[in-house]
């Protein structure tokens, strides 16, 4: 788990290496499509892939309503949230040069959820569109704090993670204190504080989209300058990059991605940590490959966890936040053990 300087394409047969990576990306896209079909198919009534296809396009099909009113919004939301959290984790890791930077572990998602709890209890906000501004503000504050703590060279991964854990604990205790003052909001927000896709509808997806798209664009655009920045500020400047501008862009992107994802479905941990780690062996540290891979595979994990939660928890469901914590946690422990 160390960040090394980007190796760039190997001098020998560079074309072949990137064609392998391109092929891998196609495989990942196929996996994403498969999980999306599963996510639309699973539920109280199982739909076969054929029915899913018909339900998507043919208004006369009997599955059209199930697909469009319930399962498609949920799948789209999972897609966006997974992509956002994965990407946010990957660029945070690159910016802080810290392999453990994850928006969940570092408290960014908890910051957004503390702000949402405040909005719900003290200001009576109850819609996504109201939540999202608070969530963005909370995420921005914590991102800036985390960066202030972890951006320097002195912070080791363990220390940054510990600072994040302490922030998480503070914010979590704040959320429960706020919820305790109002029994109704405990009931309203308890699913949300776990991280759940269950309340998805098209309105939420539509409102999430602009924030998500802006964050995605910013996140993908910083790939190349962040690569330069990983050589150090001086080298990056010599290559024509502007370090402070890049940092601001990354913080804006992380805020947009994490804030909107958390406003939509609550704090979810480990997605942003695990996927970049799992794809790095294939892509190397070059962000121009790492980020697209992460963006495709992170929603595979999130949607997969959501499907698993629906299968394991039936007739009800396990919240996706629980599944990612219980599945992702051991993977995280494995990564920690595997590193020396």
């Amino acid at each position: 788990m160390s960040t090394t300087a980007p190796t760039g394409p190997a001098p020998a047969r560079p074309g072949r290496r990137s064609s392998v990576r391109l092929l891998g990306l196609l495989v990942a896209l196929a996996a994403l499509a498969a999980v999306a079909v599963l996510s639309i198919g699973f539920g109280a009534r199982f739909l076969s892939p054929g029915e899913v296809w018909a339900g998507l396009w043919d208004p006369a099909s009997p599955s059209y309503r199930i697909v469009h009113e319930m399962r498609l919004p949920r799948t789209l939301l999972g897609l966006m949230v997974g992509m956002g959290l994965g990407l946010a984790g990957a660029i945070m890791q690159a910016l802080t040069r810290n392999p453990l930077a994850d928006p969940g572990l570092l408290g960014i998602n908890a910051g957004a959820s503390a702000a949402v709890a405040t909005a719900a209890v003290f200001f009576g906000v109850s819609t996504f569109f109201g939540y999202v501004w608070f969530a963005l503000a909370g995420a921005a504050i914590v991102t800036a704090m985390v960066y202030a703590v972890g951006g320097g060279r002195s912070a080791t991964p363990a220390r940054l993670a510990l600072a994040g854990a302490a922030l998480n604990a503070t914010l979590y205790s704040y959320v429960s204190a706020v919820l305790l003052s109002d029994t109704d909001s405990i009931d309203r927000l308890r699913f949300w504080t776990v991280g759940s896709l269950a309340s998805a509808d098209f309105a939420t997806v539509e409102r999430l989209l602009p924030f998500f798209a802006a964050g995605l664009l910013a996140g993908l655009l910083v790939a190349r300058p962040l690569n330069a920045l990983s050589l150090g500020d001086d080298a990056a400047r010599a290559l024509g990059a502007r370090p402070s501008l890049i940092r601001v862009a990354v913080i804006v992107a992380v805020t947009l991605l994490c804030g909107s994802a958390t406003a939509a479905c609550g704090p979810i941990v480990f997605i942003g940590l695990l996927i970049p780690h799992m794809v790095r062996p294939f892509t190397g540290p070059d962000l121009r490959w790492l980020l697209p891979y992460t963006a495709v595979l992170a929603p595979v994990l999130l949607l997969g966890a959501d499907v698993l939660g629906r299968v394991l928890g039936s007739p009800g469901e396990l919240q996706v936040g629980t599944v990612t914590a219980v599945l992702g946690g051991p993977l995280f422990l494995y990564l920690v053990r595997a590193a020396k």
């Binding site: 703590v149 991964p157 363990a158 302490a166 305790l180 699913f191 480990f270 990612t324 946690g329 422990l333």
Partner: protein, 345 residues
């Protein structure tokens, strides 16, 4: 000859030895605890003057005061003192073992183990005795798991990371448990999870006192000096004759016992285990875990926080965990900025 004896006396002196600053910190914190206690015992629906509180405590008060203080207010106060002391001692040992001021049992999954197990009991509708047993068992089990998964290197970042991972997993599980209960149970569960001292009686204070009576002497006499040497590094410590792994495991077990029982008595009150040892260390400027000053500061912190929780708002009482959570948040921000500047975090 002189040099050798001088060396020897100095090392013995610093081992048993009295550090004036540390003693002063401990004494001040104890006096503070006493003052807060007297005011805490006197304040409430029925006000009792501080002088009367003190005379009642020494057994000279009138029967009405004796009933109000002895039966109603004292059990809660004693629970707060004992729980604060236990949490602080546990935090001091953990911080010394992982060599990081943020490495308290709250952050490393131990408290989460206790609260997840307790939450399961609340959701299943268990009694409060079952809840306490589950909390102790959960805390110990989480410690054991973290220890086993982390492997040998307890001080290294691996133990911290495994602890954080465990805490995140357990947080996910408790979130799931919270979604299973019905509304009233959830309010009760959330109240317990925040940590509070409402309605604590001798039933909570006595087990805590027993555990402290057994574990504290063990920590102070058997572990304290060794832990101080261990902070210089494993190699130096074993060269100086400290049985490193035995000491570590013993201290870890003792600290886990303390924090688990504390969580069983008062709920997982956050940040006392993190702040008290760190404050004590800053003030006493002594190396090592600073057990005695930490314990005194912990007792002061929790009684002070509970006093605030009961009397800060006119119309309602807060769970003490809310007060420590808010205090802890502020302290954390300060800690992160100062310690980072000093390069220790």
């Amino acid at each position: 000859m002189t040099l050798a004896t001088l060396d020897k006396t100095r090392s013995i002196g610093s081992r048993v030895g009295v550090r004036p600053r540390a003693v002063a910190v401990g004494a001040l914190a104890l006096i503070g605890t006493f003052v807060v206690s007297v005011f805490g015992l006197g304040t409430g629906d029925f006000e009792i003057a501080p002088v009367d509180v003190v005379t009642t405590l020494f057994g000279e008060g009138n029967p009405a005061h004796e009933f109000i203080i002895g039966e109603l207010r004292l059990p809660r106060l004693i629970t707060a003192i004992l729980v604060g002391a236990a949490m602080a001692a546990s935090g001091a040992v953990f911080q010394s073992l992982v060599r990081n001021p943020l490495g308290s049992p709250d952050m490393l999954g131990v408290t989460n183990g206790a609260s997840t197990a307790a939450l399961a009991v609340v959701i299943l509708g268990g009694t409060s005795t079952q809840l306490s047993i589950a909390a102790v068992a959960g805390g110990l089990a989480a410690t054991l798991l973290v220890r086993l998964i982390a492997g040998r290197a307890l001080h290294g970042f691996r133990f911290i990371l495994v602890g954080i991972g465990m805490a995140a997993i357990l947080t996910g599980i408790s979130g799931y448990l919270l979604t299973r209960g019905v509304q009233m149970e959830n309010a009760r569960a959330l109240l317990w999870l925040t940590g509070n001292l409402d309605g604590r009686d001798w039933g909570q204070a006595v087990p805590m006192a027993l555990v402290l009576a057994v574990v504290l002497p063990f920590l102070l006499l058997a572990c304290g000096p060794g832990l101080r040497i261990l902070e210089m590094g494993d190699d130096s410590a074993s060269a100086l004759g400290v049985p490193v792994s035995l000491l570590r495991n013993g201290a870890l077990l003792a600290a886990a016992l303390l924090i688990s029982f504390a969580a069983a008595s008062a709920g997982p009150v956050l940040f006392v285990a993190l702040i008290a040892p760190h404050l004590a260390k800053r003030m006493s400027r002594a190396p090592g875990p600073n057990l005695l000053p930490s314990i005194a500061v912990g007792a002061l912190l929790l009684t002070g926080a509970d006093f605030l929780a009961q009397h800060a708002l006119d119309d309602q009482t807060l769970p003490v965990g809310v007060v420590t959570g808010l205090l802890g948040g502020g302290y954390l921000v300060w800690l992160l900025t100062t310690e980072r500047r000093a390069g220790r975090i």
